[in-house]
Subunit: 218 residues, 2 copies
DNA sequence: GTCTATAATGAGATAGAC
DNA sequence: GTCTATCTCATTATAGAC
């Protein structure tokens, strides 16, 4: 995704992902995109007739990356330890979330700029939540987790919300513009803490980050 | 706040709150504001020199409303049952959140339009989280809640995140544009479920909404 | 205080030469 | 494929009459 000499189209998308992650797609002008990509604004419109088209192209890549993670988790999910697999999945998911964080952070703006993405976002989330629910139910069956169906239901939604919005929370609440590995671990632990009360004693997720109580500073 | 015959200034603010809650401040043009308020666009600029000034004025009112809720909770917090007081506070808070939901939902856009609000938002959140933490520690002391300091810390943050973003979640995930009382109860129960594992058995919060498992449809 | 202009800006988008 | 030049348009903002 980031080679030495990429095509102009790839370069535009790379630049957009970076700028969008930094400032949000609404705040980034086509002029800025073109300038950063080292091309003329007119040329930009050769590749993407509308700004919305850039968002669509980025979403395709994001979608593909998400599917990859989901598939990888299904491969290992049925084989090894359920607890380890779940943790690994969560970790991969968080890395992805970070790479495409503007999709999580600027939902409102994206909705306005590219209404066509709405339906596809819902589909993606449908699949994601279904995946997680399935994995958790398996963990309950194996005795790694103790929770009723209703508790599981609420748990999944809460985990989804925390996962989706902890970045925005860090930004608005603690002025964290540039997220570090420490932040990532903090968010991870925050999600993990939702599940802890439901884990069987003696089955600790043993994730290093759970030691960090307060969010790392800017 | 909504009388029969209010001043033009009040009318502008009322209209803006409604429009902002509906579509977000970025999507609402000054032309639309003026038209809806039944005044000329030029007149709008007599009262608010910049669109940002409208946001500032709305924030003041929001701030005042929040402080009112916080003070009310402190008054009853030391007197009656700690559990009931906490529940009442949460309920008041949710009603407020709904009345001013655009502040929660369109954080990114607001940051861009009125950077000056950032610091004040943080201050407000500081106070809010401190209030909640204090209340929870009191509940632990009274034996209504069983949690370590670290658990409490994570709990408060998670509760804050769910409370702040469940509206956006409902919108993006379930296309809920118009939030009903049922939605409010669902979000409330979602937050409540975070605390349930830490409540002493025999001290059920007994909130009606906790019966609703899945989010109400559009 | 309220209105009718109208200016000023800046963004997205296009046509056509090279 | 890339550039220059230009257009359209919405939005913010102002000046000045009533």
């Amino acid at each position: 995704m980031s080679e030495v000499s990429t095509s102009t189209r790839e370069r535009i998308l790379d630049v957009c992902l970076r700028l969008f992650n930094e400032s949000g797609p609404a705040a980034v002008t086509t002029a800025e995109i073109a300038r950063t990509a080292g091309i003329n604004e007119g040329n930009l419109y050769y590749y993407f007739k509308k700004k919305e088209d850039i968002l669509l192209a980025l979403f395709e890549a994001f979608e593909a990356a998400l599917n990859e993670v989901a598939n990888a988790s299904q491969d290992t999910g049925d084989a090894g330890d359920g607890s380890d697999a779940a943790l690994a999945y969560l970790q991969r998911w968080f890395r992805l979330m970070w790479a495409w964080r503007f999709f999580y952070r600027d939902g409102a703006a994206i909705k306005r700029m590219a209404p066509g993405l709405r339906a596809r976002t819902v589909t993606l989330a449908d699949r994601g939540q279904a995946d997680i629910k399935r994995a958790l139910k398996q963990m309950v069956k194996r005795g790694l987790l103790v929770a009723s169906d209703e508790e599981l239901e609420r748990l999944v939604v809460n985990a989804w919300i925390i996962s989706s919005y902890w970045l925005d929370y860090l930004d608005t609440r603690h002025n964290v513009g540039r997220v570090t590995r420490d932040h990532l671990e903090w968010g991870f632990a925050q999600v993990l803490s939702l599940f802890l009360p439901y884990t069987r004693p003696g089955v600790p997720p043993a994730f290093p980050a759970s030691r960090r109580k307060s969010p790392p500073g800017q």
